[in-house]
């Protein structure tokens, strides 16, 4: 048998497809017949030093995949399967794996380390395998061979990566950290061991809360990390800086004593070390910026000594030294870096960090950067010009408008001129900088806008000229137009300063999207997305142009259906292009459909549009096109009840969208479209409701579907109930338990983190919207159906009222349901209001709110309740 396994494993990697297929089939059969024996023999294969490296590696891989999967449900099944195995077999497998760590073959011990971690992930939370850490540490205790040390440290690292912090006892954490820090020590002679230890520490940092509280332990850990940043091995240095980056966010509040040293180490690395290391050193400062910006955003300007989170102003303190260090990196550009979107180098990291620093310190950055800009922006060397422009563009977010406006007023003309620079990079960065100017110094909220009636024509002449430049430049120009248009959003319905140029802008963007090379980069995407923004921000006087655009885009969408599809790459291209065009249509439908006077510009093409959308759907077999779905939602909204004629054909895609668990965004979008359709069709949606409700109920009860989709599904119940009114009765017996279950779940979230609080609020908001729709839908003729649920709903409202974590949206929804309940049930609910007296306080709270909407809803609810209570 054992020999046979080896052969089968080798065959499974054969170049001959038939052999491979047979071997895979054999493996599958073996696994199905006897999982325990199968896994055991794999672990023996992996541990057997006599076996070929290829079969050992595959054995390990299959073992790993028998314990873990990406998909949550499958992952759970595999964990259950493992836990259910005979303990004796599990013991043998684990012993074999631990043994394999000492194998000299790198593939074998590395794979074994990973499998051990996977088993740990399943067993440790169940309280099993209590001696794992002890047996691993034993490997470190005696003077071990260095590759066993390495494999053991790797295993410890993987284990820390796999399990959550509460699973390990503090003493286990202590001994792991001791072993890891020892392995990192400068006295360790093997670089491989030091590297494994440093990487293990990276994973173990989250467990080290208690140790970081202790000054001595923390000092020691920090010292070892700092020493490792000076290792001779570049991999160790990089891993050590990665540890520092992680610490900068996890233990920001503990960093103060080390900052001086860290500044010295990082600036030396930024200046002198190899790029992978210097990038991490730079990342440390970006990460500190992130932390401090987050603290600023959370606490505003209000930092007292007793703030929960300390705020050290590390960046502000380091500023005089930090900024020159960052500026020094900007001239280290690579040739052609703008042609490749994947490139990430020190100059880019430096500019990005500079931008974060500007957001962090505001005005203080300006005097430190402007001399550099002025000195370099006109130099002959393109690197200097580009670096100066990049520096200028980077500090446009953060400092005050008062500080920036005079500078930009001077710089704007210079930038417009620089769009004619001979160097591509300079033009790229200049266009990007123009975009930043428009983003931050132009718009309805800016008092002294830098764009005026006088310079707008020149700006557009330059932009519409440069949009024909190289694709990378053109893409940045699109971005600039995007923000230019956005700045005029909401300037009023009739006309915009952009209106005289509107037609030219639209034409230029269409021409850009049509460029042959546009598909090779993000240019086509940027062109269409900019078109979207331009349309969104358009005014009434340019509506005829938008209307003329509709058939143009429809024609383009039609052309995608005739594209020749020979490869999966072709298919992807087609799908992407369809997404962009459907996106543009969605925006136009929403824009024109929102106004009665322009609605016909959409409605007259509705048949044609819907026909195309259905054909776009048909291009795929199993999934639906998200963008087409979004566009259809907008179309339903625009056409109203007339949308009914498309339902027969459209319905199956709607269902398909609701079934798409994997791409949960698609599912979420489809749920939204169901709401659109309900509002458009009212009771005409009834024939489709059995199917829709069935699918929605399935979605709610699925553990595969991303949870973020579920609150909107409840809201969707409300939409359906409101549309079909008394016909919702037949779904009530399914919907109500679902709502009650979710309500209880939302209430039970003990020791919640911010994310959970947020989610539970969304869930409750969805539940309330469902109740509102159902109450209102039944009001006319089936109100009595809700009597049995009234007490539970009032109890739920009371729970929410008592919860300090409820947000305004939930409060508003809750008080609304209180009114709906009173309104619909009338005097039937009167006894309940004697029982649930909290409603008075709740109403009082809402009535004294500053939120006008909440107040109005509460006033309304009060009238409803007072009528009966």
């Amino acid at each position: 048998m054992a020999l046979e396994v080896t052969q089968v494993l080798l065959n499974a990697q054969s170049a001959d497809g038939a052999v491979r297929k047979l071997a895979e089939e054999n493996l599958r059969q073996f696994q199905e017949q006897n999982v325990a024996a199968f896994l055991l023999s794999l672990s023996h294969e992996l541990g057997n030093n006599e076996k070929p490296a290829e079969s050992r590696k595959l054995a390990g891989l299959i073992l790993k995949n028998s314990l873990d999967a990406k998909e949550v449900q499958r992952k759970g099944e595999l964990a259950q399967q493992w836990l259910a195995l005979d303990p004796a077999v599990k013991g043998q497998i684990k012993a074999s794996l631990l043994q394999t760590l000492s194998s000299a073959a790198p593939e074998a011990h590395q794979t074994s380390a990973q499998v051990i971690a996977k088993i740990a992930a399943v067993e440790l939370p169940q309280g099993e395998w209590p001696d794992l850490v002890v047996s691993l540490l034993k490997n470190m205790a005696e003077q071990p061979i260095s590759h066993l040390k390495q494999a053991t440290l790797e295993t410890l690292g993987y284990v820390c990566e796999e399990v959550s912090a509460d699973v390990l006892a503090q003493e286990q954490v202590n001994s792991i950290l001791t072993a890891v820090v020892q392995g990192m020590n400068a006295t360790e002679t093997s670089n491989d061991v030091r590297l494994a230890a440093t990487r293990a520490l990276y994973n173990a940092l989250d467990f080290a809360q208690t140790n970081f509280e202790n000054d001595m332990e923390r000092d020691y850990i920090m010292r070892v990390i700092c020493e490792a940043t000076l290792s001779a091995d570049v991999r160790v240095r990089q891993a050590a800086f990665e540890c520092l980056v992680s610490i900068s966010s996890t233990y920001y509040e503990k960093l103060a004593p080390y900052m001086q040293d860290i500044f010295a180490i990082t600036s030396k690395a930024v200046k002198e070390d190899e790029e992978p290391v210097s990038l991490q050193a730079m990342e440390f400062w970006s990460s500190i910026c992130d932390e401090e910006i987050e603290i600023q955003e959370e606490y505003g300007g209000d930092f007292s000594g007793d703030s929960e989170v300390p705020y050290f102003r590390f960046i502000k303190q380091a500023l005089p030294a930090l900024v020159p260090m960052l500026l020094g990196t900007l001239t280290k550009q690579e040739e052609d870096q703008d042609q490749d979107e994947e490139v990430w180098n020190l100059a880019m990291a430096g500019g990005t960090c500079l931008g974060l620093v500007a957001r962090n310190v505001g005005d203080d950055i300006v005097p430190l950067v402007m001399p550099y800009v002025e000195e370099n922006i006109s130099k002959l060397d393109w690197r200097s010009r580009e670096a100066a422009t990049y520096a200028f563009g980077s500090i446009l977010e953060g400092p005050s408008l008062e500080k920036l406006t005079p500078l930009v007023n001077v710089a704007l003309n210079f930038m417009l001129n620089a769009m004619k620079d001979e160097n591509n990079h300079v033009k790229d960065t200049t266009a990007w900088t123009l975009g930043r100017i428009f983003e931050f110094l132009h718009g309805p909220s800016v008092d002294a806008p830098v764009i005026t009636q006088a310079n707008l024509p020149l700006i557009l002449t330059v932009l519409l000229g440069s949009i024909k430049d190289e694709p990378n430049v053109a893409e940045k120009v699109c971005g600039a137009i995007y923000f230019l248009a956005q700045g005029y959003e909401g300037t009023g319905g009739l006309s915009s300063p952009l209106s005289p140029f509107f037609q030219n802008i639209v034409q230029a963007l269409l021409a850009t999207a049509d460029r042959e090379e546009a598909g090779d980069s993000r240019l086509r995407t940027s062109a269409y997305e900019t078109l979207n923004e331009v349309v969104r921000c358009s005014t009434e006087d340019t509506a005829p142009v938008v209307m003329q655009l509709v058939p143009v885009i429809l024609q383009k969408l039609n052309l995608t259906l005739e594209m020749q599809i020979l490869s999966s790459e072709d298919k992807e291209k087609q799908s992407e292009l369809q997404a962009l065009l459907c996106g543009v249509l969605q925006v136009m439908i929403q824009k024109l459909g929102a106004n009665e006077a322009t609605k016909y510009g959409i409605v007259q093409y509705a048949d044609q549009m819907m026909g195309l959308f259905l054909r776009v759907f048909a291009c795929r077999s199993a999934t639906v096109h998200e963008e087409a779905m979004l566009a259809i939602g907008a179309l339903a909204y625009a056409t109203g009840v007339e949308f009914g004629k498309y339902m027969q054909e459209f319905y199956r895609y709607l269902e398909m969208g609701l079934q798409n668990f994997e791409e949960y965004q698609v599912c979420a979008v489809t749920v939204g479209v169901v709401g659109d359709i309900c509002r458009a069709l009212d009771d005409k949606v009834l024939p489709f409701c059995d199917g829709i409700m069935t699918q929605l109920l399935k979605d709610l009860s699925s553990n595969q579907l991303h949870r973020s989709v579920k609150p909107p599904i409840f809201s969707c119940f409300g939409d359906i109930a409101l549309a079909i009114e008394e016909h919702f009765e037949k779904y009530l017996m399914y919907a109500m338990p679902m709502l009650q279950g979710a309500a209880e779940l939302a209430a039970q979230q003990a020791n919640r983190d911010d994310e959970m609080i947020d989610y539970s609020n969304q869930l409750r908001n969805g539940i309330f919207e469902a109740y509102s729709g159902i109450f209102q839908g039944f009001k006319k003729s089936k109100a009595e159906l809700m009597i049995p649920y009234a007490a539970h709903i009032l109890q739920f409202i009371e729970n929410v009222y008592q919860d300090k974590d409820r947000d305004d949206l939930v409060t508003k929804a809750a008080i609304g349901v209180l009114g709906d309940l009173a309104d619909t049930l009338g005097t039937n609910a009167a006894p309940l209001f004697l029982q649930f007296v909290f409603y008075k306080d709740f109403l009082d709270e809402c009535l004294s709110s500053d939120d006008q909407q909440l107040k109005e809803t509460a006033e309304w609810a009060q009238i409803m309740v007072n009528r009966i209570a």
Binding site: N595, E596, A634, Y637, G672, G826, T827, I863
Partner: protein
């Protein structure tokens, strides 16, 4: 590992499209809920729960056994009066101010279609009445005051009246849940409110009652109060019923050319089974010709008949224009040029345009009341 950083961030629109779609959906949902709630609170359904759920006699009530109904009404009044003190405004609509109030009131009317043929079962199913010339308005009495609002939502008068709770004097003042809503025409020459219809009486909603019942109520209930007394300090304007006739020859004759105390402006027909529905309905019809109206033709602001008469047709999504007949007759197709002009003219939209925007399908006869 370290978070991904993006160099020279470019725009990304997809999430924005999703978010905007979501925002629109949320807004629509909110509007719809709001609408449902406003109808509930403001005017219509104050007593619905009562008769829907616990009063098995409701069917009987709509047939006209008003004795029980008024009994039930009072019972509820007394049971709730103790709690409704201090309520911030009884009617949703009365709480609204400015343009919001205007928009809201403008939608609270039942609007007749033009009579373009003779409805079937005219004699069996229809009532007819002469229409007084003047301003169509809602008259609302509540919280000790009475006010009237015209078709465009504008406040016409705010005055004391003898309507229940229409003035702050004994006998008239009442708890805040007592209020009335009448559909009237204010006839300038004799400063009189001519009552066409009654939608709420003492807080009791008649919106969902048949015309037959509403008119019965109108003619019997109103005279029980001292609504038709001559004007005085606490009853500033005269109120008068417009007499309703069966659609037989005599009735039609009387409505069309019989003597009235007011200047006539056409003839109104009401289907006797119809509820009081908001907006334009084919179950109420208006007839005008030169014999029964001074304004059979459109006039300009100076009262001159212009050279051309306007007809409003329904503009369909495909650009064709049709009549409002049950099987619409296509009269033409609008040229592209016209359709684009329509947008630019929108800036100075007039009442007509506004009507077109409010109705679902631009189905508006010209010159509505």
């Amino acid at each position: 590992m370290a978070r991904a950083r993006i160099h020279k961030r470019t725009i990304s629109d997809q999430q924005r499209r999703r978010d905007l779609a979501l925002e629109r959906q949320k807004e629509c949902r909110r509007d719809l809920q709001q609408h449902a709630r406003q109808l509930a609170s403001s005017i219509a359904d104050h007593h619905h729960p009562h008769y829907n759920l616990s009063n098995p006699d409701f069917q009987g009530l709509t047939d006209g056994s008003n004795e029980e109904l008024s009994y039930g009404d009072e019972e509820e009044s007394s049971s709730s009066s103790g709690h409704s003190e201090g309520v911030l405004g009884l009617l949703e609509g009365t709480r609204l101010r400015g343009s919001e109030a205007k928009a809201w009131y403008a939608q609270q009317f039942m609007l007749p279609e033009w009579m373009i043929d003779i409805p079937s079962h005219l004699k069996r199913d229809w009532y007819v009445m002469a229409r007084p010339a003047g301003k169509r308005c809602l008259v609302i009495s509540s919280s000790g005051t009475t006010f009237s609002r015209t078709r465009n939502g504008k406040l016409l008068h705010c005055f004391p009246s003898a309507l229940p709770n229409g003035a702050k004097i004994r006998d008239v003042a009442a708890p805040s849940h007592v209020f009335c809503i009448l559909d009237c025409i204010f006839h300038e020459p004799d400063s009189t409110y001519y009552i066409l219809d009654v939608m709420c009486w003492r807080g009791y909603s008649l919106y969902d009652c048949s015309t037959e019942f509403r008119f019965f109520w109108r003619d019997s209930k109103l005279s029980e109060e001292k609504v038709f007394v001559p004007p005085s300090t606490y009853h500033r304007y005269r109120f008068c019923l417009v007499s309703v006739n069966e659609c037989n020859e005599a009735g039609l004759q009387a409505a069309y050319c019989g003597p009235t105390s007011f200047q006539r402006d056409g003839v109104l027909l009401y289907n006797r089974h119809a509820h009081y529905v908001l907006g334009i309905t084919p179950l109420a019809l208006l007839w005008k010709d030169a014999d029964c109206s001074q304004f059979p033709l459109d006039t300009d602001s100076k009262g001159h008949v212009p050279a051309h008469q306007q007809v409003v047709l329904r503009l369909q999504s495909d650009g064709t224009v049709v009549t409002g007949d049950d099987r619409p007759v296509v009269l033409g197709i609008m040229p592209e040029q016209f359709l684009s002009q329509k947008i630019s003219s929108q800036a100075h939209e007039d009442g007509l345009m506004e009507d077109m925007r409010h109705s679902h399908f631009s189905r508006v006869p010209f010159f509505v009341l």
